[in-house]
């Protein structure tokens, strides 16, 4: 055959240039090692969507206004960007978040640049003073690498002082660490200079609050006035008038009447206070603390960044005032280390196990070494590939290597085993090199095809999208690259190294087989003879195995992806949407006090609401409690799940609080994906929030009645109390007042208005003008706020406006420029397709939607359907490609079919394996099944090729079946065993992240067992039927 000649030329060329090949391989090893050193190390693949967030904080605006004035212009500006997937927005009290989702392949910097251009347009459309849109940090859901709080041992620092230390010292220095994109502060009070105005004094001196703001602004300035020349020298002229301390502000002159000045401190108290806040941080149920979050730059190396941040923190600790220390309370490092440890342990143990097997079966040291050397070569080769393709070292990518450990040696096992055998049977007239090349040529084709098939079967994984895709593609990549490496090793290095290392046993050529092989041959021989003679039994065996598999299959439970234990517990509290920050804090402190009573918990740190924007957008009714645990070995017999149980029990009866236990990364990723966690979502799009709510409730009622509906829940879009001040146009007309005059007074008096800044060196602090609390903190007090008409008459607000308390929207969510409300539900006991159909019919029949309202069905079922569709195309294609390869290899339809018979039998083993270990069908399990395809086929090919060879040499089919099987017992068992044992550590690993790979390993090991049985018993037995030659 054509290829045979090519192969011959190849092997001759390789063996002629042995040293070149060696040098080349050393180069690969070196490059691999340096790639390994450069690889970014992460805990696991980042599954965050590709998005750019635009945040706008708007001082004190209600959700409706935020949507109208801020969110909408931003959304409109973003429309039509290239590669955009969707725009989703959230308008909350005082905060607008617009998430612009891009297609996964889009470069994040390109996307940000586009968004930034459009933000400029949006800015023009947002009214002055309603906030400046800014982009979120260049980071992802896994970017929050370290949280810390400031511990004040002396107890003499106020929360303002601590926050100032955080913002101007700690944050300042941490932000200089390369790879840190942002440090977000939360907790305590941001220092401000408060001008607390006494309304009676205003009345007395006939001044308005606007006058005060104006005066402060105009009395706090530095200017430059170019230069003057004096004796040939230039003197720069500058005039300084910046307020630098509280006295400067106090002594601002508001006006002077008949020469008597009126100072600011005659109408207002000026003092240092805290800014209005939407989030706080508490510790151990005792007190508030000030803390910060370090956000990692997109694409930077987590482990190095964390390391550098830690060094920097040591440095900063030295600079902090005595008694104040930075205490980290969450570090992703722990997780990264744990994950890397889990897989590297598995890798190492796998390598050791594979080596042991090799020594046992190969019987001698030299061939084992040649085979084993395939592992470092393939692994380092994979590292080069990872570096090239930008895949970080993480649980999944390294996990791929751990899975492939056993498979990497398969090719070289077959080759070396054959070379070893041939060398031992050496007849004197052939040189070592000739023998090696002959042995090599005998097996290289099936080996090559087997490896290529393994690579090809992973193709469907590359088509996985979304979270599963991002999670499992790195695994598929590394396996494919490593297998490619092992192919290179098998084709080039294994003959070269054999020629150097293997001995041609001249004298003791009659050396006996290894004891272990002898025993096995002794058992195997009668069995295989029996099956070859009674083919029907073989059919029965295969058939019954398949029946068993199909019987067990429906009993398996299913889940999407097993939960990955991050090793850190976060308790998320949701409180009533109308709750005040203070009440929220009280409740949280109570919860914290309860938590620290649980043994095993050393402390708790909680974030309530949000701090500086960039990472979190929570309103004050959400609290996230980070539970600090003793080291795992001090928990007693408790697992993480047990700890969660204890926490749940302890918090069970906390009134008014929904407790949700989650983990840091899972939580932030979910928040970014922000899709509905339920599998089915009915989204109702429309304009009027009231109608949306009403119709959504109707839809929920309809859906609840459909059999199979579960957990039906309508989004809470209302529930925030408002004090609505509606200005009476007739009333203001009588006094000649403008609406904006009234509104400005309301804003400044009640909410406060910034009237410039005070510079203390480079630190700058806002000056906030506001009425004294008891003149603005009840609706009665607000009603009595006086507004001055142009002719100097003071009119109370209640004369000019109608003030009422009502319940308004909690948040307004929009997708692709339209408001929507979600009704989510899960479906149990029936398939989703029919459920959706029935639901759509029911909604069409019983719900009349006003014009402009639209129902859309979505949720995870869509993703699943898409995945199904894709796999339904890709898997058959893969099978066809495999079949073609087989056909090309054997040049026989029947032979190829015989090999394909391996697949169902391998699947049975995987199913039984899952069932026996009590695991569910999940995405990793299905990845395992896909891997099985490839592995299962390889063994059969080697065996079949040999039997064909024997038949070609004139041996009868029956004898060929039996001798072929006996001779190939060693490589077949060896490859199966190495693959299975290479996976064994993953089966028993209990470290962080092991839960994701266990189903995969289970499926492969289980499948290998059944497919090996098939290869060894059924294939030889059925060979006669599938052979092309007729005797």
């Amino acid at each position: 055959m054509d290829t045979d000649i090519k192969m011959k030329k190849l092997i001759q060329f390789i063996l002629k240039n042995r040293l070149l090949a060696l040098a080349g391989s050393l180069l690969v090893l070196g490059a691999g090692y340096s790639s390994y050193k450069q690889l970014p190390i992460d805990a696991f693949p980042d599954v965050s969507p590709n998005l750019v967030q635009v945040f706008t904080t708007t001082e004190g605006l209600a959700p409706e206004e935020v949507e109208k004035y801020v969110t909408y212009p931003i959304e409109v500006a973003m429309n039509g960007l290239p590669n955009i997937e969707k725009i989703r927005s959230l308008s909350n009290f005082g905060l607008s978040v617009v998430n612009i989702y891009f297609e996964d392949e889009t470069d994040i910097y390109f996307a940000r640049q586009m968004v930034n251009e459009r933000i400029q347009q949006a800015r023009e459309k947002i009214p002055n003073g309603f906030g400046e849109p800014v982009m979120g940090p260049i980071s992802t859901g896994m970017g929050l690498i370290l949280f810390y709080y400031l511990d004040d041992e002396t107890g003499k620092y106020s929360l303002e002082e601590l926050r100032t230390i955080q913002d101007w010292l700690v944050k300042f220095h941490l932000q200089t660490v390369p790879g840190v994109t942002e440090v977000l502060g939360i907790g305590g009070y941001e220092k401000q200079y408060h001008v607390i105005v006494d309304p009676f004094a205003l009345l007395r001196f006939d001044i308005t609050i606007q006058d005060i703001i104006e005066k402060i602004k105009t009395n706090n300035l530095n200017v430059g006035a170019q230069f003057i020349e004096k004796n040939s020298e230039e003197f720069i002229v500058r005039s300084v008038g910046l307020a630098s301390e509280i006295e400067d502000v106090k002594n601002i002159i508001l006006k002077s009447e008949s020469g008597i000045p009126i100072f600011l401190n005659q109408v207002a108290d000026v003092e240092i206070g805290g800014a209005i806040r939407r989030g706080i941080q508490t510790h151990n149920g005792m007190r508030e603390v000030v803390s910060g979050m370090v956000v990692k730059l997109f694409g930077s190396n987590s482990s190095t960044v964390i390391g550098q941040v830690e060094t920097k923190m040591e440095e900063i600790n030295g600079m902090l005032p005595d008694g104040i220390k930075i205490i980290p309370y969450y570090e992703q490092k722990t997780l990264v280390e744990a994950c890397v440890k889990t897989v590297s342990d598995a890798l190492l143990q796998g390598i050791i196990l594979v080596m042991i097997i090799l020594f046992l079966f190969m019987g001698s040291f030299r061939p084992s070494i040649v085979v084993a050397a395939s592992i470092p070569f393939s692994v380092l080769f994979a590292m080069i590939g990872m570096n090239l393709f930008g895949i970080s070292a993480n649980l999944m990518s390294l996990g791929g290597l751990a899975i492939a450990i056993g498979m990497m040696v398969d090719g070289s096992i077959v080759i070396i085993e054959n070379i070893d055998r041939v060398l031992k049977e050496k007849s004197n007239d052939e040189s070592k090199i000739q023998l090696i090349s002959k042995a090599f040529l005998e097996v290289i084709q099936p080996v090559t095809f087997a490896i290529i098939i393994i690579i090809i079967v992973f193709l469907p994984l590359f088509t996985l999208q979304g979270v599963e895709g991002k999670t499992f593609r790195p695994l598929a990549y590394t396996i494919a690259i490593a297998m490619f490496g092992s192919l290179i090793y098998a084709m080039i290095l294994s003959p070269v190294l054999s020629s150097f290392i293997l001995k041609d046993s001249t004298n003791n050529g009659e050396k006996k087989d290894l004891w272990i092989l002898r025993i096995m041959n002794r058992i195997y021989e009668p069995v295989i003879t029996y099956f070859v003679e009674n083919r029907k039994m073989a059919v029965w065996l295969a058939g019954s195995l398949i029946v068993v598999g199909m019987a067990i299959f429906p009993k398996l439970g299913s889940e999407f992806t097993p939960k990955l234990n991050e090793g850190t517990i976060v308790v998320r509290l949701s409180m009533a949407p109308s709750i005040s920050l203070n009440e929220s804090k009280n409740t949280t402190l109570i919860v914290e006090r309860r938590l620290i009573k649980i043994p095993g918990i050393t402390g708790v740190v909680t974030r309530i609401g949000r701090g500086e924007i960039g990472a979190h957008t929570d309103p004050v009714n959400n609290a996230e409690i980070y539970v600090l645990l003793k080291p795992k070995d001090e928990w007693g017999n408790n697992s993480q799940a047990d700890m969660e149980m204890l926490i749940r029990e302890e918090l069970e009866n906390v009134p008014g609080v929904l407790v949700n236990i989650t983990q840091p990364i899972a939580m932030s990723v979910d928040e970014l994906l922000e899709g509905i966690r339920a599998e089915l979502a009915v989204k109702l799009f429309g304009d009027d929030l009231e109608i949306l709510k009403e119709k959504a409730d109707e839809i929920a009622d309809v859906i609840r009645k459909i059999p199979g509906a579960d957990d039906v829940q309508v989004d809470q879009i209302t529930g925030t109390p408002q004090l609505l001040i509606t200005i009476n146009r007739n009333a203001i007309a009588r006094y000649g007042i403008n609406i904006s005059d009234v509104q400005e007074v309301i804003r400044a008096s009640v909410g406060g208005e910034t009237a410039g800044q005070i510079f203390e060196g480079i630190r700058r602090f806002d000056i906030l003008v506001r009425l004294a609390p008891n003149f603005r903190n009840t609706s009665d007090a607000i009603a009595n706020i006086l507004i001055q008409s142009p002719d100097g008459v003071d009119v109370p607000l209640s004369e000019l406006a109608h003030i009422e308390e009502l319940v308004g929207p909690r948040q307004i969510t929009r997708e692709n420029n339209q408001r929507f409300i979600t009704v989510q539900c899960n479906v149990t006991g029936r398939d989703i397709g029919s459920f959706v159909e029935e639901g759509q019919g029911a909604i069409d029949n019983s719900i009349i939607l006003p014009a402009g309202y639209l129902v859309k069905w979505g949720g995870q079922f869509r993703l699943q359907q898409e995945a199904n569709k894709r796999l339904a195309v890709v898997i058959p294609i893969t099978l066809i490609v495999i079949f073609l390869l087989l056909f090309y290899n054997f040049n026989s339809l029947k032979n190829s079919l015989l090999i394909l018979l391996n697949i169902p039998l391998a699947l049975v083993g995987g199913v039984v394996g899952l069932w026996l270990t009590g695991q569910n069908l999940s995405v990793p399990a299905s990845v395992g099944f896909i891997a099985l395809f490839g592995i299962a086929l390889g063994n059969g090919m080697v065996l079949l090729t040999y039997m064909n060879q024997l038949v070609k040499d004139g041996v009868s089919i029956k004898t060929a079946s039996i001798t072929g099987a006996l001779l190939r017992l060693r490589p077949v068992l060896l490859t199966a065993l190495t693959t299975a044992l290479g996976l064994l550590p993953l089966l028993y690993a209990s470290g962080t992240g092991s839960e994701v790979q266990r189903p995969l390993a289970t499926v492969v090991v289980g499948g290998l067992i059944t497919s090996t049985i098939l290869t060894l018993l059924v294939i030889p037995a059925l060979y006669k039927w599938f052979s092309d030659k007729k005797n």
Binding site: L658, R677, Q716, N920
Partner: protein, 313 residues
């Protein structure tokens, strides 16, 4: 050959079965946990420890006195009956001035001596009442004539408080109502409304309500701004509770009542109210146990099922 062509079909069937089934089944158990919430009980049971932990205060319904007030800005003014302007009768040169600004004078006290230009004789100016000199324009040597030069003597032992009554309050203000006057938020004195102007000021569109105050110690100074709290209604009610007990649930005002089963929200109808207290017309009876503080926790517990959805988690 027939047999062999069936095999690939068989294989593909099995594989498709394996994979599609798996993906369809995935959803089924995904969210099984999130079940318990949803149905809300309207009766809630709270142990005493829990009440203490969350600062929920339970009290017994009782009656009491409720005062309704409205707050009005006002100004201290001199009673025009207690103000005297003493002017020279004849144009002349001021020979002597005896009193200075702010000095107290008695009726008949000599204030100044003037030499008349016409008669060239001197005459004296006397105070016409007891009081304080609040203004004067008299300098030795100058020529004093009528409107420009004078002594203003005011008797400040009683002053007026003029409250500006905005249009919407006018109907609630009447003679005799008690008013507490406060200066800089501190109550200084109380008095009664003795006069309400029948017309509104053309400029400010307010009516004036007047209270006459004793001011023997002189603490009220004319021109001073004050706040008047006018008691517009005062009564004794059989069910009077603090406003902190009121909670709004689904647009209705409720009070959480404790009965033998537990806590239960009761819709109430509100009568008169002021800053702190509120009269309950129906829904609550004297003697019942109710939550006077911390009702929010109970409200939140009731609504627990509904705020799980939405953003985050």
């Amino acid at each position: 050959m027939k047999k062999t062509t069936l095999i690939p079909i068989f294989l593909t069937a099995i594989l498709t079965f394996f994979f599609t089934r798996q993906y369809f089944m995935q959803g089924e158990e995904m969210h099984a946990e999130k079940h318990e919430e949803g149905e809300h009980e309207s009766i809630m049971i709270f142990s005493q420890e829990l009440l203490n932990e969350f600062g929920i205060v339970v009290e017994t319904v009782s009656g009491g006195v409720l005062e309704q007030t409205i707050e009005l800005p006002g100004e201290i003014q001199i009673d025009p009956d207690r103000l005297a302007h003493i002017t020279p009768r004849f144009v002349g040169v001021v020979k002597e001035v005896f009193k200075q600004m702010g000095e107290s004078v008695k009726k008949g006290d000599r204030l100044a001596i003037i030499e008349s230009n016409e008669s060239l004789t001197t005459y004296e100016l006397h105070s016409s009442m007891d009081g304080v000199i609040i203004d004067m324009h008299f300098t030795k040597g100058e020529t004093a004539q009528r409107p420009d030069h004078f002594f203003a003597v005011a008797d400040l032992s009683e002053v007026w408080v003029n409250l500006s009554v905005y249009q919407k309050f006018i109907s609630q203000i009447s003679l005799g109502q008690s008013v507490s006057i406060s200066v800089n938020s501190a109550i200084a004195q109380t008095g009664n409304i003795s006069y309400v102007s029948p017309t509104l000021d053309k400029h400010t569109r307010t009516a004036t309500a007047r209270i006459v105050l004793k001011n023997s110690d002189g603490k009220f100074r004319p021109g001073q701004f004050i706040t008047g709290n006018v008691v517009i209604n005062q009564g004794e009610y059989s069910v009077l509770i603090p406003k902190t007990a009121l909670e709004t649930v689904n647009g209705k005002t409720v009070v959480f009542v404790k009965n033998q089963n537990g806590f239960e929200p009761v819709t109430v109808k509100i009568g008169k109210e002021n800053h702190n207290s509120v009269e309950i017309i129906s829904g609550l009876e004297a003697g019942q146990k109710y939550v006077s503080k911390g009702g929010f926790v109970l409200k939140a517990q009731m609504a627990k099922g509904s705020f799980g959805g939405g953003h985050g988690h």
